[in-house]
Amino acid sequence: MNHEPLTVPTVAEMAAEGKKPEILFWVGCAGSFDERAQKITRDICKILNHVGIGFAVLGTEESCTGDPAKRAGNEFLFQMQAMANIQVLDAYEIKKIVTGCPHCFNTIKNEYPGLGGNYEVIHHSQLIQQLIDEGKLKAEGGESFKGKKITYHDPCYLGRGNNVYEAPRAALEVLDAELVEMKRCKSNGLCCGAGGAQMFKEPEKGKKDINIERMTDVLESKASVVAAACPFCMTMLSDGVKNENKEQEIQVLDIAEITVRANGL
């Protein structure tokens, strides 16, 4: 596997050279700070570098989209965040955004326009699908997923929230793997338990945690790889796998990670 050095310019750096990125990569808080999600962030950069898309990140100028604040009921904080972010994005004349987080995706795509922020926003799984369709990504030259059982967990904010069901599946279909659907999938999918600001608090008391409930579907599918497309789902599913002591048998991998591995990037 060849490891090219990764080029990740910031928008500010590009602006200093009088350039604008083709697409802004909105990393998101999880992608920036969560150790597991950081790996996914780097993999998304690898894909962008590999296909030669001129992208940039905001770096220290990026801030939380306000999603958890809004869903927890703090509309003030949400709109403060949103307006500040829109100012930054507009100052750099950003038109197109890709993000690895369905929560950032949903918020910027659906809630920012009402506050004056209009951008074309795509989730990284949609970008990957597009690159596969264009023949720029092939699932060749890397790790073989041949015969492996892979299942995909639909993030609520990508699936039910925005009807993106096919793109992440398309990224898996190019692999020579055995794709299986969980009992609860697509519009019938089960939440990982982290949305709506649940990520930042203890769950209310009940019989069990939601990610543990989700593990029954994962185990039933007999998949050895669970594909995720959201950093929150990644945390919840990984914790679920740990809780079952199945780390040796079941890997939780983001669509971007699987793509990077399959292409040997």
């Binding site: 990764l6 990740v8 910031t10 990393v27 808080c29 920036s32 700070f33 969560d34 950081q38 780097r42 990140v57 770096g59 220290t60 990026e62 801030s63 939380c64 306000g66 604040a69 869903r71 927890a72 009921g73 703090n74 509309e75 003030f76 904080l77 709109q79 403060m80 965040q81 307006m83 949903n106 795509k109 659906n110 809630e111 506050l115 609520c156 904010y157 039910r160 929230g161 925005n162 009807n163 519009s187 019938n188 999918g189 089960l190 939440c191 338990g193 949305g195 709506g196 649940q198 930042f200 608090k201 203890e202 769950p203 209310e204 008391k205 009940g206 069990k208 945690d209 939601i210 543990i212």
Partner: protein, 433 residues
């Protein structure tokens, strides 16, 4: 003649009573705040046609979908027959459509009979699911005595009405064969002819049975009509407007509160003057009148089928939240507010509210905003919107968010991230390549 006058009086009384009670529900719904759902009428008609008329969201549960379709089609189509009964009742005629329609009439009556049979099958299936198989979906804390009886009453009434209809036809058929009185030969009776042998042969007793069933059937329908405003069965009417006024935005999108936008803009730019003076209302919803008329319409549309609750991840894992309960609580509270207005005048305020008296905070905080409930609802009800509005009240008016969420808020405010990391470290991930 006496029969005709009696019929007209009953009919008029039934219509008057129904419009009065339906009017009250309309008034209650309009106690909600305004929201604009007048955009994109073409898509709205299409949504209604697909979801209410076409029942497309029912198919997720095939058995329920087929059975429900029998009852639904039976209800819609048998109305033609009810129209004939009304005309006959007012003018003292008998099977007035039979002459002008001729052989088509035979076909129609035959069709109605099959539908009536299917409705019977469906109602019996539904009753057994609720009372013998005891489907989990029909239980839960909110499914107290009344909601369970309400469901059973509806099914039993439908069974009685269909039985009366078929018995009436059987007796009519027998009288037709006897060439008795005004019982002209009309209609084909593919189902009720199986009941006919069980009926007596004497013309006068047959006539009594026929008239008895006729009256029972039509008075029953009028009584049922007047039961609707007190029952979850009101969904047969509200499903249509409710789907017409559906949320057309992506499910993940929450409303941006305009009143907050004005304040935030004023904070960022002191020279900013909002276009419209903001109404002094509260942020979010403490009581039902803080919700929109659409939220309230949804509460009256809910038929308590429990599809929302059965897919709710919080409910599945044993938490207190049940989206169905959110809708039922909202309806119970708005009904209470409406009754207060009727009794004590429109400015009367009791010391109750939707929050705490009906819906607890524990329920509100258990929601993951995953939209499983809104997706599952066969008539596009959105319990999530009510939950978010109530969270907004708790957070923005009361500052009573759970401590861990307050920490998250201050992290977002101070560091631009929900975790306690410095924004200066946002690019650290780059270094580990």
């Amino acid at each position: 003649m006496i029969a005709q006058i009696l019929f007209i009086i009953i009919l008029a009384a039934a219509i008057y009573l129904f419009s009065k009670n339906a009017g009250k529900i309309r008034r209650n719904i309009l106690l909600g705040k305004d929201t604009d759902r007048s955009d994109n009428p073409a898509l709205r008609w299409k949504t209604m046609a697909k979801i209410a008329l076409g029942q497309t969201k029912m198919v997720k549960r095939p058995l329920a979908a087929v059975m429900h379709f029998f009852i639904y089609a039976g209800f819609i189509i048998i109305n033609l027959e009810v129209l004939e009964i009304m005309i006959d009742g007012v003018f003292g005629s008998h099977r007035i459509f039979s002459k002008p329609l001729g052989s088509l009439y035979d076909l129609l009556i035959g069709g109605f009979e099959f539908l009536a049979l299917l409705v019977l099958v469906a109602c019996i299936t539904f009753l057994s699911r609720r009372n013998i198989a005891r489907l989990k979906r029909f239980s839960g804390v909110e499914m107290t005595e009344w909601p369970r009886s309400d469901a059973n009453y509806i099914l039993i009434i439908e069974i009685l009405l269909m039985t009366a209809f078929l018995t009436m036809n059987a007796a009519d058929h027998k009288l037709q064969l006897l060439n008795f009185g005004h019982y002209i030969k009309a209609g084909s009776f593919p189902v009720s002819s199986f009941i006919a042998p069980m009926l007596p042969d004497g013309a006068s007793s047959l006539e009594m049975i026929e008239r008895g069933c006729w009256w029972f059937h039509i008075v029953g329908i009028l009584a049922f009509l007047n039961y609707l405003p007190y029952s979850k069965h009101f969904h047969i009417l509200l499903a249509f407007p409710n789907t017409y006024y559906s949320n057309l935005h992506p499910k993940g999108q929450l409303t941006n509160m305009a009143s907050v936008t004005n304040e935030v803009k004023a904070m960022l730019d002191p020279s900013f003057v909002p276009e419209t003076a903001g109404e002094p209302g509260r942020f979010g919803a403490k009581d039902v009148t803080d919700l929109t008329w659409k939220n309230l319409m949804e509460a009256y549309t809910c038929t308590e089928c429990g599809r929302c609750t059965s897919v709710c991840p919080a409910n599945i894992t044993g938490k207190l939240l049940s989206p169905r309960k959110i809708m039922m609580d909202t309806r119970d509270r708005i009904t209470e507010v409406g009754n207060n207005i009727d009794k004590h005048g429109k400015d009367f305020k009791d010391d109750k509210s939707l929050l705490d008296n009906y819906i607890t905070r524990e329920e509100l905080w258990a929601c993951t905003t995953c939209n499983a409930c809104t997706d599952a609802c066969p008539v596009n009800i959105n319990p999530l919107e009510i939950i978010i509005e109530m969270r907004r009240y708790v957070v923005m008016e009361e500052s009573q968010a759970p401590a861990s969420l307050n920490n998250m808020f201050s992290n977002v405010e101070n560091n631009g991230a929900p975790w306690k990391y410095s924004s200066a470290d946002r690019l650290n991930w780059k270094e580990n390549i």
